[in-house]
Symmetry: C2
Subunit: 351 residues, 2 copies
């Protein structure tokens, strides 16, 4: 069984008639659900934007704004390096930032399980406030619902963000051209491995922390220094491989990555080996991927490395003419392999 | 035990250290949680807007927009007259409409429980699309998360809306003045009673249906015909009593309502008696309350009654000088009673 438009890789199950955990993976099953259920239902000119943040023109002198929403259901709610509150603010801020917009306003809707300790909610709210201050956004409206014990899981947070596009800024995942270089702003896999190591009870000599951070400042610095950037994405659910595949399909180009160039912490690599994971599929919450014309690549890299959130940035690959729609990776031993989209469920409730 | 700023009525429990179902009631416990936890955490100039839709100025030629979010956790997901999808669109559209804004764009975030039948999700999506078309809004961005079986309850939907204010329009819950009249656009209690009658298995000769409907058209007709309207609100969780108390406190006025003027369907009245409920506390999802200068009241009433969603509209009361901060009701037998905010939990998961 294959699905058109998302490469031609086999899918474990598409004859489902019920929701599977993998529908929330950010991989092929998620795309399948969107393509087969949500898009036909919602249709309309803007419907293809369902997967990402939307660009809205308010008309009559109103500028263009970016608009994006995300629910956060991460488990555990508190994890090394952050909590669901920080994640909910950063996740939405980052979607606006990588679209090229300046994040301005947030809405937060809480679904609380009866019995949640107030002290936990207070910590989460404080952490959201701190992340908002860090990102320069204002939380301006909210909602609270409570569900009976056993009908939720402590707390779910949905954040929705509004950002403003500076005049003339226009990034698109369709803009990549052969010859462009691909930059990642730091080590990959930190968030997913931090969550999994808590869940699986794996211990390391140093505590593995999530990279969850607001990228608004870094994105702005990059776009100011290098307005030629074609597009940016934050590789969250589905990991780096998800973003690169999206790019390959949307821009109708090939993407070729060199494995030895991928920045991965030694502890993350060790944990991935132990858990049988490939870091390219592991979620990040404080990293971005940028596509930039080759001539500007080294200058952009230098700029990113000067930023506190970009110290481990690297140029990891190239956009190619051939193999349009595919991501390939030159492995450490020199071979080449295709890196498909994550097929089903790898890590449920990672964000 | 009393809470300042919300009348001086006794509260059943404020020494909670865990989330109670009543924190989602839209009544006093919800206000308490917002006042004691969220506002201190989020602070800031716009923080008082946490209870409702926010007005944002985008600056540099950008107009004013309205921005609001709501999670929907109603149980059952399908009910007479609607489902969680229609509710999620109408609820957010109505928050924008009663603020005086023209609803334009929606974001929808789904939290699905593993095992949810796809057929149910398809029905919900179709119903959202129909409600969007009815309301004249476009669903432009979305998100899907999946939680393990037993950690959610079929489907939760969070919708966030952006509306645009026509130039010069400015409504505020603080604007009511003594002498103003209070209009309700139709029968009260229909939504809450429809949900409860399904849950409790109560049957009537005619099926009791929720009133869930988008009010954008009605609100616009009213504001065009009668620009002097001081403010509007949709009496959802917490019911008519909740909205009138909010008005009395925010405008520092008294509100006096005549019970005999309240439009209530006979079946709803009967169900309320059976369940021990007062219809003024029961949720509505297709009604609005408007405050209007006395001179324009009859003309506004005539306008509303011509609209399909306003046929049973009525003028139900008056804004008074005395008893500031309180809502009183002249009862059917001529006596007068105070109508406080709903104290705790009356009907969990009504929306």
């Amino acid at each position: 069984m294959t699905i058109k438009g998302f490469g031609d890789c086999p899918v474990p199950r598409t004859d489902y008639d019920r929701i599977l955990l993998g529908h929330g993976s950010g991989g092929r099953l998620t795309a399948d659900l969107i393509g087969k259920l949500f898009l036909p239902a919602f249709g309309g000119a803007n419907a293809t934007a369902l997967e990402d943040s939307a660009t809205l023109t308010l008309g009559e002198g109103g500028g263009r704004i970016a608009f994006t929403t995300d629910s956060f259901v991460v488990r555990p709610v508190f994890f090394p390096g952050g909590d669901i509150g920080r994640l909910a603010v950063c996740g939405t801020v980052n979607d606006l930032a990588v679209a090229g917009a300046t994040p301005r306003f947030l809405a937060a809707a809480f679904i609380l399980e009866e019995g949640l300790p107030l002290a936990d909610l207070r910590k989460i709210a404080a952490s959201m406030r701190a992340a908002c201050d860090e990102a320069g956004v204002e939380l301006v409206t909210g909602d609270t619902k409570v569900v009976d014990r056993g009908k939720g899981d402590q707390v779910f947070v949905t954040t929705t963000g509004v950002g403003v596009f500076p005049p003339g800024r226009s990034l698109s995942i369709r803009n990549a051209r052969p010859g462009d270089r691909i930059l990642v702003s730091g080590t990959i896999g930190d968030h997913g491995v931090a969550i999994l190591s808590v869940r699986e009870g794996i211990e390391f000599e140093t505590v593995l922390e999530s990279d969850v951070a607001p990228l608004a400042g870094l994105a702005d610095t990059m776009l100011t220094a290098c307005p030629s950037i074609r597009c940016m994405r934050d590789p969250t659910r589905g990991g780096l491989a998800g973003v690169l595949n999206e790019l390959a399909v949307a821009s109708k180009v090939g993407v070729r990555v060199t494995e030895s160039k991928l920045p991965v912490r030694a502890e993350v690599r060790a944990a991935c080996e132990m858990l049988g994971l490939d870091p390219v599929y592991v979620a990040n919450e404080g990293k971005l991927v940028a596509v930039v014309p080759a001539d500007d690549a080294e200058r952009l890299l230098a700029t990113v490395r000067k930023h506190p959130l970009g110290r481990n940035a690297a140029l990891i690959g190239t956009v190619t003419d051939g193999r349009a729609g595919f991501v390939t990776m030159e492995s450490l031993v020199g071979g080449e392999r295709v890196v498909p989209v994550l097929a089903g469920e790898q890590m449920p409730r990672i964000c």
